[in-house]
Structures are given as C-alpha cells and as structure tokens.
C-alpha cells in the first residue's frame, strides 16, 4: 500500500483486494462480540478534517478509528480557525505539529487532499474532494457487491446519474475497472464530462437499454442546484428518463442489486419502493463503510508494523 489514499488509482488490484479481504476479516473478528473494538491503533491519532458538511462519512470514519482504538479528533471548518481565514496549509501544519498520524480530509476543492499530502508527513485519506474522488466510498461499494454477488470479476455495473459532478462515480469507475468489473455510465449527455470517452467504461444515454444486462445498478444523487443550470429541463423529466422506479426495477435480472451512496432524493433518482426493496443494499452500504474504513486505516497506519 502507498502511504496515502488519495484516489482509487492509488490501489492496484492486489492492494484493493487486500483492503476488501481485511474488511472481511475485521467483520468476522467483530461478529458476535459484545465489545466491538480492536486494540490495533491504540496510541495513534486520526484527525477528521472536514471542510464540507458530511454527517455519514464523518461518523463512519470516526467510528472506524474508534473501533481500532485510535484517538480521534474531529476538526470541522465551521467554528474553527478556518472560518477566520486560516489556509489549508497552515491548518495541516498545525495538525501535524499536534502529532496526528493520519488526516482524513473532506474538501470542496478537487485535489485538496493531494496538496495536503504534500505538506504533512503522516497519511492522508481522501474522504471526498470536490468533484474528483471518494475512494473509500468506492471500496465500500466494491465490498458490498462482492458480499452480495460473491465476485467482482465480470460483474456488470451501471452507474446512473450526475456523473459530471460525482466523485463517487470517478472513484467507482477506476476501482471497479481495477477489480475486473465492467462499468456502464448512464446519464443525459449534459451530466457526462467532456473527455468521458477516455474512461475505462461504456457510456449510454438510455437507462432502459442498460438495465436488463446489469448485475448492479448504482444510482447517483442529483443535486437540486443542477436544475437551475439547464443540465436537464425539470426534475420530473429527469425522473422519467433516468429515475429508477418499480417499473424499471422489474426489468432487472433476478439477482441484480440496487445501490445508492446516499443521501437519497426519494422520488427523484430513486423511487421509495426501490430504495426499500430487497434488492436495495443502501443500508448495508453504510454498515460496510465502517468495516472498509477500518481496513484502510489499519493498512495505512498499522499494517506496516
């Protein structure tokens, strides 16, 4: 493993598989235990440096670090020195001086974790940067697929929605490709980046044509602000063309699963009856997120010792 986890491309197939296997071992080790805690990272300090509001990812990382017995510091930009104008570099050096071993960073600027990794000696874990990547989300998604379907090689994954602005999509395309899955991106052309043709993925504008062949349908959140910028005419039209409702779900194969990184817009990209169906892995993904993040922190901080 590299020292940092900044993007999915930092993981080759062996490393990615190691993370998933480690997560599985952790799950097995903690199953049925009353005290869900391992002593692995005792005495190590993990800082959650969150420049964007994110309840689920921050809590997931916090829980992961605590279950490994690390000391956890939550540093959110609001109400801190950051709101007084402190630069990312100064904040990083301050945290470093306080002895942090790993910084988990969420930032609205693409590439912010890369810059951070430049300035600190400890490990940096990207917890989502702008419209760039969110590698632990892709790892937990891959872990979820593997648990449900038993494999990743050759699995056909449709990633549906706002690919242009989605860090989840970028990380998933890269990681799923590394792990041997076949990805098809489905979106209106306005929500696909210019240059998407160079990605290791197929591209389609037609959800109905893709669904019957998909083993996994991964729905992306569509943010309300996109509606005011002419990416599509209306929420209703988006939902008609790219939303996953019960009718479309019926076109899926018997074992196909439906995923969503959350938070969902029920009734927009995903209908309630789909989100709550047995195909849905949405709640499972949240649980798997903790295990996968434990594996990442363990391998970055403890694995070498």
């Amino acid at each position: 493993m590299k020292r940092h986890l900044l993007e999915a491309a930092d993981l080759d197939r062996a490393d990615a598989t190691l993370v998933l296997d480690t997560a599985a071992q952790i799950d097995a080790a903690l199953a049925g235990r009353e005290v869900k805690k391992l002593p692995t990272l005792r005495g190590r300090t993990v800082v959650n440096l969150f420049y964007e509001d994110s309840t689920r990812t921050r809590i997931s990382f916090e829980l992961a670090a605590k279950r490994l017995s690390a000391d956890v510091i939550n540093f959110s930009a609001k109400g801190s020195s950051v709101s007084k104008g402190e630069s990312l570099k100064d904040t990083a050096l301050t945290l470093e001086a306080m002895g942090s071993d790993a910084i988990v960073v969420r930032h609205s600027a693409s590439g912010a974790p890369h810059r951070l990794a430049h300035w600190v000696r400890g490990s940096v874990v990207n917890a989502g940067d702008g419209t760039h990547e969110h590698p632990t989300q892709a790892l937990l998604d891959a872990y979820t697929v593997r648990r449900r379907l038993g494999r990743l090689e050759g699995v056909r994954v449709a990633v549906v929605g706002d690919v242009l602005h989605s860090r989840v999509a970028r990380s998933n395309v890269r990681l799923l490709h590394t792990l041997g899955a076949e990805v098809t991106l489905v979106a209106p052309p306005t929500l696909l980046p210019v240059g998407v043709g160079s990605w290791p993925a197929e591209v389609s504008y037609d959800l109905d044509a893709v669904l019957p062949k998909a083993d996994v349908v991964m729905m992306l959140r569509v943010q309300a602000e996109r509606m005011n910028a002419s990416f599509f005419p209306s929420a209703r039209e988006y939902s008609r063309r790219y939303g996953l409702d019960a009718r479309r779900m019926a076109a899926l194969g018997d074992d196909a699963i439906v995923m969503h990184p959350g938070p969902m817009n029920r009734g927009m990209e995903i209908a309630a009856e789909v989100a709550d169906s047995v195909r849905s892995t949405i709640v499972e993904q949240v649980g798997n997120g903790v295990s996968v993040r434990m594996a990442v922190l363990y391998l970055l901080l403890g694995g070498a010792q």
Binding site: S87, A109, S110, G130, T131, P193, G195, S198
Partner: protein
C-alpha cells in the same frame, strides 16, 4: 553619457561584429571597431538582438505591491532582455484614467530599467459596462495606444464594436482577453480528458474561439485593429489564419508557457500551473509553435502574472490564475522555437521585438522607439545572450517579488548576459545595474 563598445557579438546570431553605442544610439556596427575612451563590454560569442518588447505584463502596482512593483517587475524584465513592457490595466485602482496610467508611467521612468508603457482599460473598472476615457489616456504623458480589459473579456458585442471603432481615432488597438464568460463559469483548467478525470471544471477551447471569431468579424466590419491576447488553442489559430486571409487587421500573441507546457501539469494539483487561459493539449502547443513560426501569431507576450505565496500555496480552486514569465521568456522561445529549427534569430527579433513594438506603436517614436533593427543610427536598445548556457530555474533566485514560476526545477537553455536601454546598461554580466 558614457560610450560603450560591445565587442565580438553576433548580431542576429550572424557574423561577429562590434557595436559602438553612443548618445543612446548605435553609432556603428562592424568588425574591429575602435573607440578610445569607450567602456568595453566583452560579448564574444553572444547573440545580439534588439531589446525585447513585451505586450503583456502585470506589474501589480498600484494595489498589490506585495506581489510585484513597477520597479521589481522592471528589473525582472531587464534581466529577461526586455527594454519595454506594456503594463496591464487590471491594477487596483484600475488603470482606466489618465491619472493612473501616468502614475504607472512615472514609476517606470523612475525605476529606469525598461520603458514601462501603460495599457489602458477599455471599460470603466474593467466592468464591461461603459467605455473608459480612452482619449484622455491616449493624450496623457503615458501615450496609451493599447487598450485592454485583460483578465476580463469585453464580452458585450455592442460595446466591443464601439471600442474597436473608437480607438481608430487614437491609432490605438483593443487587446482582447478572449473568454466567453458564460462558458467558463467556475472553470479551472482546459476541458478535456484530464479535467474529466481530475474533477476540475473545464474551460472549453470554444469559449476562446467563439470570442475570437466574433471579434475578427467585428474588426473586419468596422475596419479597426484588433489584437488577441494569449492565444491558446489550435482552433484559435485557424480562425486567425482565416481572418488574415480576408484582410482583417488582426494581430495575436502567444505566451511562453503556452508554447511549452500542457494540461498534464494540472495532474499535480499544484496551482503554480493554474493560468487563464489554461494550459492546453500537446496538439495545441504544436499548433501554436507553428503559428508563431508562420507569423499567423505575431508575437510572444509573457502574461507575466506575479502572485503572492498565499495566493498560490493553496488548493487549486482557491488559487489565483497566472504565472511568472519575464525572466524565462527568451529561454523558452529558444527551447521551443529556435532549437527545433522553427525560428532563426531574426525571427526571434521579429516576434519578440519588432512586431510587438509595431502593435503597440512604439516603433515610430524616434529616439524613444523600440523594436528597431540593429543598425547605425537606431536607438541602442539591445540584449546579448549566451544561447549555449543552460541552467535550472530556481524561483528563489528570480528578481520578481513573487515566486510562482512554472519553470521551477526545469532546465532551460540560454542566459541573458547584457541588456542596454538607449545605450545604458541595465544588465551587465547577468546582474541588474540598478
């Protein structure tokens, strides 16, 4: 005023000759000149070119003296072989009145290292709403001939038409920063494969090309001169080529960084490579080099854009766009144009001195002229460089007050050894003289 005898130089890289500089003029050029009492400057083997002229420099004064001043920028320019630089108008306050352009012009004269030629804003406060008093700036002591809202595009087509028409009476030119703002909202880098992967909002080539296409049509329609700043795409080159074939009076410049660097630099997320227009693809770089060789692009202009450390040592999106250029421009042209055989030294003199001076109307100013050939009777503005020298760029060693050089750590050919402004050395043996 001292007399200088520059010995053994190779004018335009050709046969060695001595140059006698007297009373601000070139008194003689030829082998074996003697001038008793003259100070001798050894230039054996050095290439002599007319002093360089930059059409596009940001000196940051007034307003951001922490990033650059007229004096520090002038020193950087002299060390780069320049004898005249056009100072862009996006200062604080904006150079949109006779008062501000005269202030900048006087600061340049006091620094005494290069002629600082102020550019006037096209619109009040660069606001793109109404014309600044272009005539007052033209008639001021600063004698403004180039007008630009650089940093901002004159996006309103009706206003651009009026500006083009109006400056005809001033023998002026509008230098357009070609960027359709509605197509570049939030843009961070060239839109293509790399922006898609890096998750940085794209700046499409079409946003530049659409404005250039519109403006050459307008300039042709009203019979005015148009200059296009920092052309960055292959498509822009094609539009310029077409416009010239139709007889439109359009000139264009390319920056050193767009001749050398590509959007691959953004992979590091190091904002030292963030610039507007952005670094483009290798195909664009090749097209720009060819266009400069063909003369479709007239001039190399630095777009020297100093920024304080805190404005660059940040996340990409938070950083200001722009990079230093004055001290390395000639080296980059040597590496990208001369060494590959696209341009000879006369070509370099044309693209970095004669043509930019002509665009800025500096070539007809008698003893104060720039861009004149190396010939007896002409103003003694010249640069002497060693094309065989190579060195690694160290930002800390630069004379600019800022450090945002995209060439840091890169080995480049060529070294400016001496620079003369009207017969007075501003740089001797690589050292600024004031």
């Amino acid at each position: 005023m001292s007399t200088y005898l520059v010995t053994g130089a190779r004018p335009y890289g050709e046969a060695p000759a001595d140059l006698l500089l007297e009373d601000g003029r070139i008194a003689g050029i030829g082998p074996g000149l003697s001038a008793p009492g003259a100070e001798v400057v050894d230039a054996a083997g050095l290439v002599a070119l007319p002093g360089l002229v930059d059409l596009h420099t940001h000196l940051r004064e007034p307003g951001r003296e922490d990033a650059e001043t007229v004096e520090t920028g002038s020193r950087a320019a002299a060390l780069g072989g320049y004898t005249a630089v056009h100072a862009m108008a996006n200062t604080d306050p904006v150079a949109d009145t006779a008062g501000v352009v005269e202030q900048v012009w006087r600061l340049g004269r006091d620094a005494g290292l290069v002629d600082v030629v102020p550019v006037g804003a096209v619109t009040v406060g660069l606001g793109g709403q109404r014309l600044a008093e272009l005539g007052a700036m033209a008639d001021s002591a600063a004698r403004v001939r180039v007008f630009s809202d650089d940093g901002m595009c004159v996006a309103d087509p009706a206003l651009m038409r009026r500006a083009l028409e109006y400056v005809k009476a001033l023998d002026g030119v509008v230098a357009q920063h070609a960027e359709e703002p509605r197509l570049t909202a939030g843009a961070q880098m060239h839109e293509g494969d790399r922006s898609a992967r890096l998750g940085l909002t794209g700046w499409p080539a079409a946003a530049e090309e659409a404005i250039i296409a519109r403006d050459v049509l307008l300039a042709g329609h009203v019979g005015a001169r148009l200059h296009v700043c920092h052309v960055s795409t292959a498509g822009s080159v094609e539009i310029l080529r077409w416009a010239r074939s139709r007889g439109v009076q359009v000139t264009a410049e390319v920056t050193p960084h767009h001749l050398l660097l590509t959007d691959a630099c953004a992979e590091s997320y190091d904002p030292v490579f963030k610039v507007n227009p952005p670094l483009r693809t290798d195909a664009d770089v090749q097209a720009l080099r060819q266009a400069l060789a063909d003369g479709v692009v007239d001039a190399v202009a630095t777009d020297h854009a100093p920024h304080a450390v805190e404005d660059k040592e940040s996340e990409w999106a938070a950083a200001r766009p722009g990079m230093l250029g004055l001290e390395q421009a000639l080296s980059v042209v040597l590496a990208t144009m001369v060494e590959p055989g696209l341009l000879d030294w006369r070509g370099v003199a044309d693209r970095m001195s004669a043509r930019p001076a002509a665009i800025g109307r500096l070539d007809g100013r008698g003893p104060l002229a720039h861009g004149r050939p190396l010939a007896p009777g002409e103003p003694a503005n010249l640069v002497l460089l060693d094309p065989a020298a190579r060195s690694v760029v160290d930002p800390a060693a630069l004379s600019s007050r800022s450090r945002n050089s995209p060439y840091a750590g890169r080995e480049l050919p060529g070294r400016v050894v001496h620079t003369f402004l009207r017969g007075v050395p501003t740089v001797l043996d690589g050292k600024a003289q004031r």
